[in-house]
Amino acid sequence: MLIPMITAQAVAFWILAPLAVGLALGMALSSKPVHSALCLAGVMICLAMLYAALDAPFLFVTQIIIYTGSVMMLFLFTMMLIGVDTRESMADVVFGHRAATIILVIGLALMLGIAVGRGVVTGAAGLDAANSVNGGNVPGIAALIFGRYFFAFEATAALLITAALAAMVLAHSERLTPAERQRGRAARRIREYADKGAHPGPLPGSGVYARHNSNDYPALLPDGSVAEASVSPTLAARGVAIVESTGLSTLSREAYRAMTSVRAELHGQTPPALPGEPTAEAGVPATTEEASK
């Protein structure tokens, strides 16, 4: 036969294997933990499809349910608890650690690859016979789990219960300080007002006197400057919120200028200068605006 026989298994392998290796490298090398988690989920889905190509339909479904379903979900949940943007330093702590690691891993990959590639496997036996004994893949695995490996299966049940209990014990934390209730909070605010002059009332809302009132738009004070207490410090630190005042206050300055110029036109006065602006150019844009209209 001149044309080599291309099986569905080969097609699946040559599509999924490069994808899996690329995603695995992305998992190991991407700087953000969320990207790593998504890459790992991709690797697991690729592996699940390889299982399907290897005549393991039960493991195909189990892999997707257990790994991409619950394990990656737990990873993402923990990531959200710990903080998505935890940066890690890429500097070497031990001298030459990174270079030595890369050399070691490449050496191991070569060694394993050569050892496996020159193995003495003479073709796969295939699972058709084994699957047809009990009438399918799932009944076959069930016969093994509830037959030969019954005690191992019972031990895994005990392991799972112990692990769930251990996770609950580890994740539980006792409260060390008493909870601050409404009365205590009010007393603390008044005390801070007496000591440091801190404002005892609520913080200003976002977007007041500005064009938008979404949470990432700070409120503008009457003179056009930004009220920093009106946006969450987390948003400001992450760079999501716009906290520089020049861009934001332009619009209110323009509106103020238009109003004063209209009033000056009605009353026959020269428009007064804006408080935060040099007096020389205060009247000029207003007159050009009127001329263009």
Binding site: A20, M27, A28, H97, N131, I141, I145, A163
Partner: protein, 99 residues
């Protein structure tokens, strides 16, 4: 299709997992690398099952999955506990047992 290709892929994924485990500092990514290594060994087990024509390899792979799930639950709980006391997810900061 030679089954050795699957074994070579499994070895490659295992080595990438090891690379991630050795060069990263974030404890979550270390944990994900361990998961990748477990998955790679699972692929090898399923391939062996296909080579030998018995279902024992798939059963072993199933047990590995169960143990990995238990390990993830406890490990992530430990990471959260450490983060609560040390305010850090980096393994470089874990040089003390008490805070």
């Amino acid at each position: 299709m030679k089954p050795e290709y699957f074994l070579v892929l499994s070895a490659l994924l295992f080595c990438i997992g090891m690379l991630g485990f050795l060069i990263r500092r974030n404890s979550l990514i270390l944990f994900m690398s361990i998961e990748l290594m477990l998955n790679a060994s699972n692929l090898a087990l399923v391939t062996f099952s296909n080579i030998n024509g018995t279902l024992d390899g798939q059963t072993a792979s199933f047990f590995v999955m169960v143990v990995a799930a238990a390990e993830v639950v406890v490990g992530l709980a430990i990471i959260i506990t450490i983060f609560r006391t040390r305010r850090s997810a980096s393994v470089d900061d874990l040089n003390l047992l008490k805070h």
